[in-house]
């Protein structure tokens, strides 16, 4: 059986692909509509239907073509864009501006995002409190829900969260796909350890100052979500840092290198997620007996997670986000999704089917709300 699996690839027949899509179809239908689709408002109905179809068509093509990353990336990028749209739209509706004021901080009205989580840990342990001016429960983007979503996702997907759940990752993923070939071909790979340095730095500085220092001073995604009102030299400096990091690490370098440079070289949450890769059930495996060492996978990996040495040793590094790009590129079907404990080269289809169902379900349901909201906004704008 193993030999058959090694040579057939991951493509499925039309009938089988439809069959594999059916559970996703039913579950996303239930989650998106609550079992009772509401078409009373035409724009909302069209937005809901479009997103529902988009989500399921992409999943169908993952099975039908055997390609993962190609279709994952579509939803992932749309998610990033629509989440930014939703956040900005919410800011504009509530505050008539993309910045938050001192009053918003004093009244703890700042939307929470998962990048704050590493900085919360020590203060939560030592001061028994959360160092973020947001809402613990209720309201838009509250702390408890984001913590639950991230915790479960990172325990089950590990760094897979960075390619299937993070609503920021789609930005540099998108920009890394713009050029056909990279302009900058080599970057010292030692930089991939940088997120750990950033992680330690922000954990310690946040504990000492009781401030989410990464959000206050570094986060590039402030440029596309919300930031502090520029009223002083300090807030102007912060805005300058946010914009430069967004321009450099999320736009320019991904375009030039075809890599997700923000996620590879900066994000402290990505560093924690990669540590949780150690305990998740799903992994990426290399079937050494099928690999002919063409190293196509090494070239395409957007997160510097694969080196020639990794391929030779048959082990993918902890930086892997399970995006599937290497698998789409592998002509031998040698690199594949796997399950911990199951030897590489075996149960390839089973492992892929299970992983895709779990990870895609998370992304589809997590992203649906903001994508529907964005489609709805676009429809209202056009008509």
């Amino acid at each position: 059986m193993d030999n058959i699996l090694k040579t057939t690839g991951m493509k499925k027949s039309l009938g089988k692909s439809l069959l594999y899509t059916l559970p996703m179809f039913l579950i996303t239908f239930m989650f998106l509509t609550g079992g009772k689709p509401n078409f009373s408002d035409t724009a909302s109905g069209i937005a809901l239907l479009t997103v529902f179809i988009l989500v399921n068509v992409l999943f169908f093509f993952m099975h039908f073509t055997g390609k993962t990353d190609k279709y994952r990336a579509v939803l992932f990028i749309v998610f990033a864009l629509s989440l930014s749209y939703t956040l900005i739209n919410n800011m504009l509706e509530v505050r008539k501006a993309m910045y938050f004021s001192q009053a918003d901080i004093l009244e703890c009205k700042i939307p929470f995002c998962h990048l704050v989580i590493p900085m919360m840990i020590l203060p939560a342990a030592f001061t028994k409190s959360i160092i973020f001016p947001g809402s613990i429960i209720g309201g838009f983007a509250n702390i408890s829900s984001m913590v639950v979503l991230w915790l479960v996702a990172t325990l089950v997907l590990g760094r897979g969260f960075c390619s299937w759940g993070c609503f920021y990752g789609g930005w540099d993923d998108g920009f890394s796909r713009i050029r056909k070939r990279p302009v900058i071909k080599k970057i010292n790979e030692l930089w991939k350890w940088m997120p750990y340095a950033v992680l330690i730095m922000v954990i310690l500085s946040a504990a000492l100052t009781l401030m989410p220092t990464y959000c206050s001073w570094i986060c590039p995604f402030k440029a596309v979500t919300e930031f502090e009102q520029v009223t002083s030299v300090e807030s102007a400096t912060k805005a300058g840092i946010f914009l430069s990091l967004f321009g450099g690490l999320v736009i320019v370098l991904p375009v030039m290198t075809k890599k997700r440079t923000q996620c590879s070289f900066l994000c402290p949450l990505g560093a924690i997620n990669s540590l949780s890769n150690k305990i998740t059930p799903f992994t990426v495996k290399i079937d050494k007996s099928a690999c002919n060492e063409c190293f196509k996978c090494v070239g395409v990996c957007p997160l510097y997670a694969l080196s020639k040495e990794d391929i030779r040793s048959g082990k993918v590094s902890i930086f892997c986000s399970k995006c599937g790009k290497c698998m789409d590129a592998c002509p031998q079907n040698a690199i594949h999704y796997g399950i911990k404990g199951v030897p590489s080269g075996t149960l390839k289809n089973f492992s892929r089917n299970l992983f895709l169902f779990v990870s895609y379900l998370f992304m589809a349901v997590f992203s649906a709300g903001s994508i529907i909201n964005t489609f709805h906004g676009l429809l209202k704008f056009i008509f």
Binding site: S101, I105, A124, F126, F132, F282, G341
Partner: protein, 149 residues
């Protein structure tokens, strides 16, 4: 051993699947449970601290909060006290504040809501300066910097 590992791996993977299927329908309940954990409350540096005194004037109220000095491992030497004005506020707010309840006024504060100017006169060496003075959805809030010792 190899078989046990395979079965354990597949079991763990299916458990992940089940958890994900119940995650979204159960998100509200899970979040409420998480919100009840002892550390799930916003640090007083952000909330402004608990209310210590509540004063009622003709058309508005004044809340003086407990001074906040909290630090990571031990209390910090500098902190602040937050004052909130609520209700129908006059254009010019003038108030003398006794923040520690010792019967002595610690500072006098004047807020001009039109030009957003805030002046502080300190009668207590522990009272430093105005850290924040801002209109809020409920009225006005001021944070006055304090020294502990």
């Amino acid at each position: 051993m190899k078989k046990t590992k395979i079965i354990a791996g597949i079991f763990w993977a299916f458990l992940g699947l089940i958890v994900f299927i119940i995650l979204f329908p159960g998100l509200n309940n899970f979040s409420v449970s998480v919100s009840k954990l002892p550390f799930m409350k916003i640090n007083p540096r952000y909330t402004g601290g608990e209310k210590a005194y509540h004063l009622v004037a003709e058309k508005c109220t004044l809340d003086i909060r407990r001074p906040v000095f909290n630090g990571f491992l031990k209390e910090s030497n500098s902190g602040f006290v937050q004052i909130d004005w609520r209700g129908d506020l006059p254009a010019l707010i003038n108030d003398s504040i006794d923040y520690n309840g010792d019967g002595e006024k610690d500072f006098f504060i004047q807020i001009n809501r039109k030009n957003l100017k805030t002046d502080l006169k300190s009668f207590n060496p522990k009272v430093k300066d105005v850290v924040i003075s801002t209109p809020t959805s409920y009225g006005w809030a001021v944070r006055v910097g304090l020294l502990k010792e």
